[in-house]
Symmetry: C2
Subunit: 524 residues, 2 copies
């Protein structure tokens, strides 16, 4: 062993090592459960090591990108941890993306090896084949679709590999993931996450959520999102807890799981808790095992939060952050949520939150400005996009794009959403992209503004306000149908409202805030 | 601001930033209390910033060493955090050292500025003046003793300084402390601690001890030791809790403080809990505020632990580690201590513990060997001592020097102490140093072996076994008195036992283990 490798193995901060350590601490404890499959920490760690050695044999070096397209599964986490141990970069594919978005991501990330779950082959074969850098496709299941590209099954790929810990020099700040996030441009930007950031995020959540080795987590939100992956799964692995993997959210499935497996920790969107509250069986359920319920994206309406605390009888923790923060920035604990309804909480230990003027001055409490962050959770950079990185990091702080203020109690309030992004059903959607698609779909639209409005199910519902060209009569349903050719279905506005005029500043800019405020009760 | 500085301030892992963040999160919360002085987080952080600017004005650059000789005080923590924010290295002076040890440390660490508490001037003036690298002495209180060296009072030093955050590029792995530790050689070795190691240690303890912002800590063990400093104080600051500073341990003072200030977290040696248990007032005390009691150095006798849990009515957590581990490696939680009396517990999240053969092979559970560690808590190196560093880091693991094994439950047992170090009353004492001093004090000693034996008060009591030269009659009390000229008082054996012969291996080496085992009941 070289001296450099020896020193690295002794000292480094590596997300993969947190699994190695949990397996060393309690080899027999259950790590992951998916349907009938249950792997102990020793078994899961060996599976990860075999996968790492397979990736290394396929030529994956430190810094090489591994694409990963899969629903929630043991193999998703296996590939993620194998990349971590190897110093490779894991690039999860959002299953809601269009083919051109997938193509952009595979190419922007220079993906060298692409792991694809069997049911996704049909959709992903074309973008994968057109990505010149991909040298091998590994199919979780049976390969079909793959003429003209090297392909193997995951089972064959990892067969007969060493179960020893892979040994490589991986820097504390080596990239761990490129997580692509929708922004104001039409194509996703690659957020470069690093080992130190995700490791500290995992410790933050373990600390703030009081995660323990005897906890049992339900993982139902998509693992390709930072929230499920790094708030919940990596923290659970760090403390040696059990992760019960679900393919997605279903109220009955989750309620059954909580009862059957005595789940202690859940993490969902407000709409998921709403669906469980509304389920006819809720009164008969035994939910006494729950210790913590985390939720994210948006505060719950107060009456719903009160009902949740009563029915689930555990602490509800609201998390705020964004992919660039790995992702947690603030947390709102149960004791204050009821006295400060609608607020965003207080910073977690690893994050400093401040309010900044457009000129870069930090503002006192009570003043409104852009929410900015510092701390080791902050992403390394946007991949291949120095301009966006410089813009985000100006004045020595990470710029969230959200507007807010601190009150005199030191609690943060979001007073305006990130200018152009709507948070709907767990996804970030660029309002500019929706506006562009609406203009394309309906030439009769003179002016369009798209905003997110509060909605019990969607958190924010995408809503368009449109002014017609003179003499044109607009049909909202027709516009919605026409938009299908221009944009993903989930980005189509839930409602299109035809109006005579839109509020504007003296310089002629449409005042989105005013549109939002005037229509905040549309879905209530 | 340079781009490099901006990126560093956004991303870095810095122990000083954890104070900055706690002050930003809750400025009005009480940070430190010493007698009648109470500083809020805002006040304490400003005091630290003023101190940092004063140090910078005195020429202290990134990597420069600041000596710190003080009992427990607000200023101790102030200087420590000021160094952290500046990227300077804090070098605490153990108040039990002889003048030649202090001189060695000041010179080995190339201390450039020396902060000395008023009552320590008389003892420390001579070694400080003879250290060529010291350019300025800062006295906490009134300077006296200092002819021929630049000197100022701490109050003058920090007066009229900026209260803004100091802004400097400090690497994640920049040295934060040189903590000198007694080893097998007669002079202490400098353990280079770094920001990432201490930051993660702080998170570990906050996580394992479930530290919260509303906790109130009693800090009574010496802050110049890593245990009080990094297990307890930096963790408390990280979560925004209150530290009540005591000059040392006194059963009545501590019991009064627990009642008066509703202390929730204490950390002490077994002998301190014993002294409180034995105090006549214990039955009348209201100790209901306590949430956690940490203890270190050695397991408590089982009956004492049972009594502690009953009387203090809170969880008792046994910590093991060493200065080189920043310091925590394993923790023993209340639920297992009673079923596994005498064991050392299980590894903390940031540490992997293994058992190694002399040839560098990792051994299975049940096998005895050297306890070795990996993880980001591990020190950077021994200062100016590549040979000792290489020795400690061989085979890609940090070698603790302790012998132990894992049982089938995954719980670690220490089966033999670090070969030549006795852990007594919170101090590490080299048995070789004591043996050398005994030989010097008593020329009539033919063979000497010094071991630590289990002792309720001292954890281990230094004990010497001596074989006389032919015809010589040894007087243990006389030897003890003579030793005072050769060694610090606390290193003199509690008992000297004259024996006819010592057990030896076939190669003639004295079998310390056998001496220890045969006499383990000497003080019981």
């Amino acid at each position: 062993m070289s001296d450099q490798l020896a020193l690295n193995l002794i000292h480094r901060v590596n997300v993969g090592d947190s699994l190695t350590r949990s397996a060393a601490r309690d080899a027999a404890a259950t790590a992951v459960v998916e349907g009938d499959r249950r792997l102990s920490y020793a078994q899961f760690n060996r599976y990860v090591n075999r996968t790492a050695h397979a990736l290394a044999s396929a030529g994956i070096d430190v810094g090489d990108a591994v694409g990963l397209a899969s629903g929630n599964s043991i193999e998703f986490l296996t590939v993620y941890y194998a990349c971590a141990k190897l110093g490779a970069v894991c690039v999860p594919i959002n299953l809601g993306w269009r083919a051109d978005e997938v193509r952009h991501v595979l190419s922007d990330a220079t993906v060298a090896l692409f792991v694809v779950a069997e049911p996704l082959q049909e959709v992903l074969a074309e973008p994968a084949k057109s990505t010149a850098t991909i040298e091998l496709v590994v199919v979780i299941g049976e390969p079909t679709e793959w003429t003209g590209v090297r392909v193997t099954s995951f089972a064959d790929f990892v067969a007969d590999r060493s179960e020893d810990e892979p040994q490589r020099v991986v820097d504390d700040r080596a990239p761990l993931t490129y997580l692509y996030t929708s922004g104001t441009t039409s194509l996703p930007k690659g957020v470069v996450g690093n080992h130190t950031a995700v490791y500290l995020e995992s410790m933050t959540m373990a600390l703030e959520g009081q995660f323990r080795a005897d906890d049992r987590f339900a993982a139902m939100m998509p693992m390709f999102h930072t929230a499920q992956l790094n708030c919940h799964c990596t923290s659970a692995i760090m403390v040696g807890a059990t992760i019960h993997i679900l393919p997605g959210f279903d109220a009955v499935v989750l309620l059954d799981l909580i009862e059957r497996e005595s789940i202690t920790q859940v993490f969902g969107l407000p709409m998921m808790y709403r669906a469980m509250l509304d389920h006819e069986s809720i009164e008969r359920r035994d939910l006494s095992s729950l210790r913590r319920a985390l939720y994210a994206m948006a505060p719950m309406p107060q009456d719903m939060l009160v009902k949740c605390i009563e029915v689930f009888d555990c602490g509800f923790y609201l998390l705020f952050g964004q992919t660039e923060m790995s992702p947690t920035a603030t947390i709102f604990r149960p004791e204050n949520q009821l006295t400060h309804p609608g607020a965003a909480g207080t910073p977690v230990v690893n994050v400093q939150v401040a309010i900044m003027s457009p000129d870069g001055d930090l503002l006192p409490s009570g003043s409104e400005g852009e929410i900015v962050y510092r701390g080791p959770h902050v992403m390394t950079e946007y991949l291949n996009n120095q301009a966006a990185t410089d813009e985000a990091f100006r004045f020595g702080w990470f710029h969230s794009g959200d507007i807010g203020r601190f009150d005199d109690d030191g609690i943060l309030w979001f007073t305006d959403r990130r200018k152009d992004v709507i948070k709907t059903g767990g996804e970030n959607v660029s309002s500019l992209e929706v506006e562009k698609a609406l203009y394309s779909a309906e030439p009769g639209a003179a002016e369009v503004v798209v905003v997110g409005l509060p909605h019990d199910h969607w958190s924010e519902a995408i809503t368009a306000f449109v002014v017609a060209r003179p003499g044109v009569v607009l049909d909202p349903e027709l516009i919605r149908r026409s938009m299908r050719e221009h944009i993903d279905a989930y980005k189509i506005p839930k409602a299109i409202v035809v109006v005579d005029m839109l509020p504007k500043t003296s310089t002629g800019k449409i005042q989105k805030n005013k549109v939002r405020d005037a229509n905040s009760g549309l879905y209530r």
